[in-house]
């Protein structure tokens, strides 16, 4: 059975730089809702962006580890129902402050762009 696959053109695709820039605030915002793990975080990003944000899934972990190294989040291990250990991440107080700062900055960018596009 032929499958209709809609290929996004380069213009429609969200640029790599923007994806990278939005990674930290997105991850912090997702973890603000509660502890989560890599696979679930990727699902949430997909859901939040309606599938528009395409993350290379393997690249999520270096970002999470960098945030952990910066002291914004922390990880802990817990066993799932299958008995396998799984690494979860949660926000630290420093992460909450960083998220508030990110939010202010993105609001400014968003407001500026909105104004610019209204007048364009």
């Amino acid at each position: 059975m032929p499958r209709a696959v809609r290929q996004r053109s380069n213009d429609e695709r969200i640029g790599k730089d923007l994806v990278a820039a939005s990674a930290t605030p997105l991850l912090l915002a997702i973890l603000q809702k509660g502890p989560s793990y890599g696979y679930a975080i990727i699902q949430e990003v997909r859901e939040l962006s309606g599938g528009e944000l395409e993350w290379s899934e393997g690249m999520l972990y270096p970002v999470l580890h960098r945030l952990e190294d910066q002291g914004l989040i922390e990880s802990f291990e817990e066993r799932g129902d299958t008995g396998r250990k799984r690494r979860y991440y949660r926000l630290r107080p420093e992460g909450k402050r960083a998220l508030a700062a990110e939010r202010r900055q993105w609001d400014v960018v968003h407001a500026a762009l909105a104004k610019a596009w209204r007048t364009a």
Binding site: A40, G58, H65, S75, E78, R86, R87
Partner: protein, 313 residues
């Protein structure tokens, strides 16, 4: 907390292959590898449940996760192959280490450039290295503190050394110890074991062994060889060079020889049997550590001559 446990009956071989490729490119810690494997399994299960054949699902999952070489390289930029130590713990350990090492080091230098002065000076440099986040400083400090814990305990209990030293020792150990699996990958454990071997060799050197007929023992030359091998093995471990494994293997053989000599000469020491057992036990642990380090060094080596990539970062 979200959780999904749909990992049953996914094909293992391609997943293990992906994991091996990650290890080959960068020595990731087991915890980090497990995390990526967990993701791969969940993604495979999701694709399979959506109707994709299992073999195709695992290939697609691996594609979506990304080229393992690239994923490993990205990891290596964030995580050192020698492990990860949070800044606060690195500073705490260094601040605890430096003052008690600095004074005896200056004293020892007063008597010339003795081995003791060099070792203490290196300890100070390692402590400063931890502050500067030199990645291999922590496993070396941990190895030294772990090995000398028993001698410190012994000295406190049997020879009346101030218990403050034991408290200090345990304090430093608590900060540098890998409390979680992800903190110290295999390349880091290799360095820990190299230092353990070095410690065992110095212990074998510290006592004068003579045979029952008074001839000079071979313990000293063999322990010196093992000590040299541990130093070479540590350098090889930092560079992640294959030759480090050969040095460790030679060190293991030399220490085994020293243990054999100690045993056959019935250790003529002016101490009770307990002390001889303790001494033989620790030196033997050095031989085991050298053998395991040889295997780890081989497994985590990047190439025959190694790389300078993680020497400073």
């Amino acid at each position: 907390m979200k959780d999904e446990d749909t990992t049953n009956a996914v094909p293992n071989e391609p997943i293990e292959q992906y994991r091996k490729q990650l290890v080959a490119e960068a020595g990731l810690a087991d915890g980090d590898l497990d995390e990526i494997e967990d993701h791969l399994r969940l993604l495979t299960a999701e694709l399979r449940d959506s109707g994709m054949p299992a073999a195709e699902a695992v290939t697609e999952a691996a594609r979506r996760l990304g080229d393992p070489k690239q994923v490993a390289r990205e990891h290596a930029r964030v995580r050192s192959p020698f492990g990860h130590l949070p800044r606060a713990r690195a500073w705490s350990a260094a601040l605890l280490l430096v003052p008690p090492l600095l004074m005896p080091m200056l004293d020892a230098i007063g008597y010339g450039l003795t081995r003791g002065a060099v070792e203490l000076g290196f300890g100070v440099l390692l402590a400063l290295g931890m502050i500067a986040r030199v990645p291999w400083a922590r496993p070396i400090v941990f190895g030294a503190m772990a090995f000398f814990l028993l001698p410190t305990l012994f000295a406190t209990i049997l020879w009346g050394q101030s218990p403050l030293w034991l408290v200090w020792h345990l304090g430093v150990l608590a900060f540098v110890m890998p409390w979680r699996r992800s903190e110290l990958p295999a390349a880091g454990w290799n360095l820990v074991l190299q230092v353990w071997t070095y410690g065992a060799s110095t212990l074998a050197l510290a006592y004068q062994f003579t045979s029952s007929d008074g001839t000079i023992s071979v313990v000293m030359p063999l322990a010196t060889v093992a000590m040299g091998c541990a130093v070479v093995g540590t350098c090889g471990g930092i560079l992640r060079a294959r030759w480090g494994a050969f040095a460790s293997a030679l060190g293991a053989v030399a220490l085994l020889g020293a243990i054999g000599a100690m045993w056959s000469m019935r250790i003529r020491l002016a101490h009770p049997d307990l002390f001889a057992t303790y001494l033989l036990g620790l030196v033997s642990s050095g031989a085991v550590a050298a053998a395991v380090a040889a295997r780890l060094a081989w497994r985590t080596a990047r190439s025959t001559f190694g790389t300078l990539q993680h020497v400073l970062r």
